[in-house]
């Protein structure tokens, strides 16, 4: 996973060519000048690979931090407030889940068009319901502990209790959630890229789509970005799986 992150973040600075320049004939096989060959329009696949991951990973990270951050606040509030209020809030939360994430994203993008801000917000919003549930459950467990009760007794404000007493004790589920959600954000954004709705000129997902027709002639143009996405996501999954096992926050 780390090599892929390095490619994505350092790649744009060491890319040998402009990823959008039409350099050679379409679907040229790998040569010394173009180590991974060229794509459907004759652009350098290596440069595209180096530049196509930055937006994807950055957007995924921002969306994850936003979504999980909001869910942590909501989950802690719901976990410490009356059961009726939190029951209602959770129901409202669930309405968002009636549409599969990719469909919701497409719906929002219909009018707005490919906009990075809208994309990030939709992906972030989609994390809120489920993550809120997880954090609320974790908060409920901690809220019964003696140190929280005593903090209440000595008159500590609610905000201080949430931030200084509860938050430090639910870091394990928060980190597990961050790992899982980062993987989901990346899946959604890569899929939207594949479908052509991220507006990015160079994008791993889009590279796969554009060069699919030339698979038999120049497979690298598809396999290189596909491998980058796959390695990153599998690595991400292994990490969050390990985190979850270590903290025992999620079942077997």
């Amino acid at each position: 996973m780390l090599p892929v992150a390095v490619i994505a973040f350092v790649g744009p600075f060491v890319s040998p060519h402009d990823p959008t320049d039409l350099l050679s004939s379409p679907y040229a096989s790998p040569t010394r000048a173009y180590p991974l060959g060229t794509d459907t329009l004759g652009r350098d696949v290596l440069s595209q690979l180096l530049c196509g991951g930055l937006d994807l990973l950055l957007e995924a990270m921002i969306a994850t931090l936003l979504g999980v951050g909001l869910a942590v606040i909501l989950g802690m509030l719901l976990g410490t407030s009356s059961s009726r209020a939190s029951g209602f809030a959770l129901r409202v939360n669930d309405t968002l889940l009636a549409l599969p994430q990719i469909v919701l994203a497409l719906l929002v993008l219909t009018r707005i068009g490919p906009s990075v801000a809208a994309l990030v917000l939709v992906v972030a919003a989609f994390h809120v319901p489920q993550t809120t549930r997880v954090i609320r459950a974790a908060t409920l467990g901690v809220a019964q502990e003696d140190f929280v009760q005593s903090a209440e007794v000595i008159g500590m404000s609610r905000g201080r209790i949430l931030f200084f007493e509860i938050l430090p004790n639910i870091t394990a589920p928060v980190f597990v959630e961050l790992g899982i959600r980062l993987a989901i954000s990346t899946v959604t954004l890569a899929s939207l890229g594949y479908l052509g709705f991220t507006g990015a000129q160079t994008d791993w997902g889009r590279m796969v789509y554009e060069n699919q027709g030339g698979l038999t002639i120049q497979p690298w143009a598809v396999l290189a970005p596909a491998a980058a996405i796959a390695v990153f996501l599998i690595g991400m999954n292994l990490i969050s799986d390990g985190l979850a096992r270590a903290s025992g926050a999620r079942g077997t």
């Binding site: 009636a98 549409l99 719906l107 009018r111 699919q212 698979l215 796959a230």
Partner: protein, 320 residues
């Protein structure tokens, strides 16, 4: 027992309909009620003022937002999905065949995925730590990580273009013949979808099965001399069914979302690819119709799973 059951059904159905109504507001808001000149956005900068005015009239944009929503919802309730802006034909005529094609994909995939997930999950749970378990868990971890479109493209690489050339890489279906009658075109999309939804379900079945096999009643059944096969496939599996139902629903919902990307990979003429093209064309009535149809389907699945889950859990069932 009979009356509480009716009441349960009624409350769940009412709740589902309420959610659907909430979704309809969401869909309408994002497609039509967002600030900005809808007609101009659809037609682009090159359209004449006359064309824009005509479209505005056609969409009823001269009325207030609430009136527009009411009119839209009313015709939707009467089964009128409106006219496609891109092709000028009725939306229903446009998507009818595609709905059937997508349904074919979803049904075949479910018929393969569910038994297979139960079989794999149970086999892995029975020989914990064994070879089967290791292989199944490894595959689950890898497949779970990959987006649907990537799995689709990888099946194309493996079976249609680079490694073996057994199957057609795209599903250019002859529209005059039913998709079901052209099986070679269905194999790869179905394979991609099965690989996409199998891991989650398998993992869940394995987890609950491990728990069930460790429980006392299974030990008692074994001591009683019940055959191992019957212990696993009858006693234990019955207790896995209820918790698995929730996961099965999420799997089906994933499947409904998954067809969007997978249909695009194979150019399969279904609802998903229709949604993608109508979103890029800003063909608002088609987007509205398809998203509402998808929302109705997922909500229906949630309600069915909810009720079935209650009926399948003996403790809850008898307390009704």
């Amino acid at each position: 027992m009979k009356r509480p059951l009716t009441r349960l059904l009624v409350t769940r159905i009412v709740f589902g309909l309420g959610m659907l109504w909430a979704v309809s507001i969401l869909v309408f808001f994002f497609t039509q009620a967002l600030p900005g000149d809808v007609a101009r956005q659809i037609l682009g900068q090159n359209a004449t003022a006359e064309q824009v005015a005509r479209l505005r009239l056609e969409l009823g944009l001269d009325k207030t937002v609430v009136e527009q929503y009411a009119t839209w919802l009313w015709s939707l309730l009467q089964g009128d999905l409106g006219m496609s802006l891109a092709s000028g034909t009725s939306v229903w005529d446009l998507i009818r065949g595609r709905v059937v094609n997508s349904l074919v994909l979803v049904v075949i995939t479910s018929l393969i995925t569910f038994p297979l997930a139960f079989y794999l999950g149970t086999s892995a749970a029975r020989r914990r730590g064994g070879v089967t378990d290791a292989i199944v868990s490894g595959l689950v971890l890898v497949l779970l990580a990959l987006p649907g479109f990537l799995i689709g493209v990888l099946t194309v690489v493996l079976f249609a273009t680079n490694v073996f050339r057994l199957l057609p890489p795209t599903s250019v279906i002859d529209p005059a013949r039913a998709a079901l009658l052209q099986p070679s075109l269905l194999v790869l999309p179905v394979l991609a979808l099965v690989l996409g939804c199998l891991p989650y379900l398998t993992q869940m079945v394995r987890g609950t099965m491990v728990e069930a096999l460790d429980s006392e009643y299974v030990t008692w059944a074994r001591l009683y001399g019940v055959s191992e096969r019957r212990v696993v496939w009858w006693h234990a599996l019955r207790n896995v069914a209820a918790p698995s139902l929730q996961v099965a629903t999420s799997t089906l919902v994933y499947l409904v979302g998954g067809i969007v990307a997978v249909e695009t990979v194979f150019s399969y003429p279904g609802m998903g690819s229709a949604l993608v093209s109508s979103v890029s064309n800003r063909d608002i009535p088609v987007v509205q119709a398809i998203t509402m149809l998808i929302a109705a389907t997922t909500l229906f699945l949630y309600v069915v799973a909810d009720v079935a889950g209650i009926l399948l859990t003996p403790k809850v069932r008898t307390s009704l």
